[in-house]
Each structure stands twice: as C-alpha cells, then as structure tokens.
Symmetry: C2
Subunit: 198 residues, 2 copies
C-alpha cells in the first residue's frame, strides 16, 4: 500500500515527519512483510524548505510518483498552496483515486479547496478552527478531538495529532495490534479510544 | 542559543525531527525574540538518508557549523557511527564545549563512546537498555522514564521521548511557560511532572 505525503515550502516539520515515522515503523516491525510504502511528494520533486529552514528531499514530484493509495496532506503555512491551481488539481485527482485521503493540521484547508472535503465533520489546528469553518461553511468543524474519521477522508488536529491519526490509520488499514506495537516501538503514549471521532 | 542536532545515515526520523519541531516552534511563538537557533549537522554536511529512505539536507557539516551551545545526538541505527573515529572525536569535542549535551534513543551509545556519558544515570530505547548497560558498565541505565537530567547531560528514552526531553530543555533553558505554550502549539500532551528523572 502506497502512502504519499504531500509537502511544500513552509510545511510544518512534524506534520509530515510524524506520519512518516508511524508508517515506516509499522512496516519495519510488521511480522508479515512490509505493508506500507511511505514517501514524500512535492510539486516539482525537488528539495522543499519546510518550516524554520528544515530542508527535505521528497522521493517524487507530481510528474513521477507511483499510484497513491493513501494521500496525506501536511499542514503548515498553507496559504500559498491554496492559490496554486496545479496543486489543488493534483490533490483533487489523487484524492479521488485514493482509497482514502487525510490531512494533518491546516492540510484540511487544501483538502477542502480540492473538494475532497465538502460536507463532512472535520478538524484542524485549534488556532484555525474558526477560519476553516468560515472559509468552508458546509463543513462541520469539530473541536477537542485528535482526529475525525469520515470513512474516505480523515482529518487530524494540529501538528502532533498527525501521529495519533496515523496510528489510527495503521489500525484501520492493517490491524489494531500492529498500531499498538508501532506506538510501543516509538514509545508513544497512544490510545485509539476516546481520542478520535469515528 | 545554537541547538545543533547530529544526524547520520539511518538515523531515526522522529529522533531529530521531533526536537527540531520543539525548538523551532518555541522560537516561533516566543514573545521576546527567537531564543533558539536549531539546525541539523551531519559529518560531511551533505544529504543524509535517514531511516526508511527519508532524505534530509543538514544545514552544516563538521567543517562549517557555528558554535553549538546545546548538542543533541539522534538515535537510530547507530552502530556504524560508533566505529567512526571522526564522529566520536567531534561529539567529544563539541560536547565538552557545549553548555549541555543530550541524546535521543540510542544516541546515548554515541555520547557514551565519546565519554560525554561516563558514570551518570541515563536512559535509552527500551529495546537497548541491556546492551547499553553491558557496553558501558559504569553507567546506571534507568527504566520507565521519558528522560534523565544529569545537569550537563540529558538522555531520553526512545523516539517520541525526544519530544518530551526537548520540551523539558525549553523549560530549563528559557522557562516553563514557554515549554507549556510550545506543547500547546504542537497539540502535544506533555507534562514535565513525573515523566522525567531530575
């Protein structure tokens, strides 16, 4: 299963490195092969300078990535991305073909702009809840949850909540035991119970 | 204050991206300027392929980094690093000059090999506790703590525990309120109480 994480200049570091750690660790420790192939994707496929000058090299660009089964859109300073038609079109196309799409933090704005999010219950960083609700009034923006699972689309709260959402995805896509073992391997204090909204 | 994070091929992604997120966020939200300048350092200063093909570009190499006030050594597959005399010598020299040195996960092995850790109480990833104790018998390797603060040297447990340790460092180096605000900004469930060993 191919997990593609969309990143861009000024994306928040933990928004993409947290989910990357979860899926790569889950694959590493999984007793039956490597269920997840996780990779970073940027528009051009060239180095991206994430928040605070953290420079990372995505494995792929829009032009050469393999099929994406699970699309994860990182948050951060997303406002320039909202204006890029090529980015919104790519998210719309990849999100439609994917088994599921997900966002971390303000990545929800990009999923909404691409109409992957339309009328669902969603969540974002606590600082951006009002903005998201006003910008996309057909959404129901929740509060005080780590993630919201609406089936084909899942959103998480800010920054570190992307780790909890990714563990939930491992649980949903492969099994609860592997998610628990992954959290234990990462020494992450995780529980799927009560933290999210199914 | 310059926070230098040492990374290398097969370093664990969250071991360095977690502390990077904490210090960069703390600087970003700090009401009085930017107290922390955090950057990644590798031996050669060229792209590093961390665990599971995550490629990152450090800001500096051993030859050109600015003075480091706080050295953080990431864990991961550290065994090759232990054999590199240039790496151990660099950690020893930078660690001696720094205000404090810290490790995440199995980074403790590198601090011990460089004699920054000698007879202190320490912690590492739960899978490596026995190995660390046997390899460096003068250390007292603890269990069931997120981090152990021995003054000039601080070690953390595995992977995600580097986030808790870094928040503790923000608290110690700047103030508890900024650490709490940083955790809130990151939506990270953090408490300094009872999780570490002072």
């Amino acid at each position: 299963m191919n997990i593609g994480i969309y990143i861009y200049n000024r994306a928040e570091v933990l928004d993409f490195s947290g989910p990357f750690e979860v899926f790569s660790s889950a694959s590493l420790i999984c007793p039956s092969g490597n269920p997840f192939n996780v990779f970073l994707v940027s528009e051009m496929g060239e180095a991206v300078t994430a928040a605070c000058s953290y420079s990372v090299n995505p494995a792929y660009g829009f032009h050469n990535h393999p099929p994406i089964d699970v699309l994860i859109v990182a948050g951060g300073d997303h406002t320039e991305e909202l204006e890029k038609q090529a980015v919104i079109d790519w998210i719309a196309e990849v999100g439609r073909k994917a088994t599921l799409s997900a966002s971390v933090c303000t990545g929800a704005f990009l999923l909404a702009e691409a109409r992957i999010l339309t009328t669902q219950k969603v969540i974002t960083h606590w600082e951006d809840i009002l903005d998201l609700q006003e910008s996309y009034p057909d959404l129901t923006v929740c509060e005080s949850k780590r993630w919201v699972d609406e089936g084909a689309v899942i959103t998480s709260a800010g920054i570190s909540a992307g780790i909890d959402m990714s563990l939930h995805l491992v649980s949903r896509l492969y099994g609860f035991e592997l998610a628990e073992e992954t959290a234990r391997y990462m020494e992450y204090d995780w529980t799927d119970k009560g933290k999210g909204l199914l």
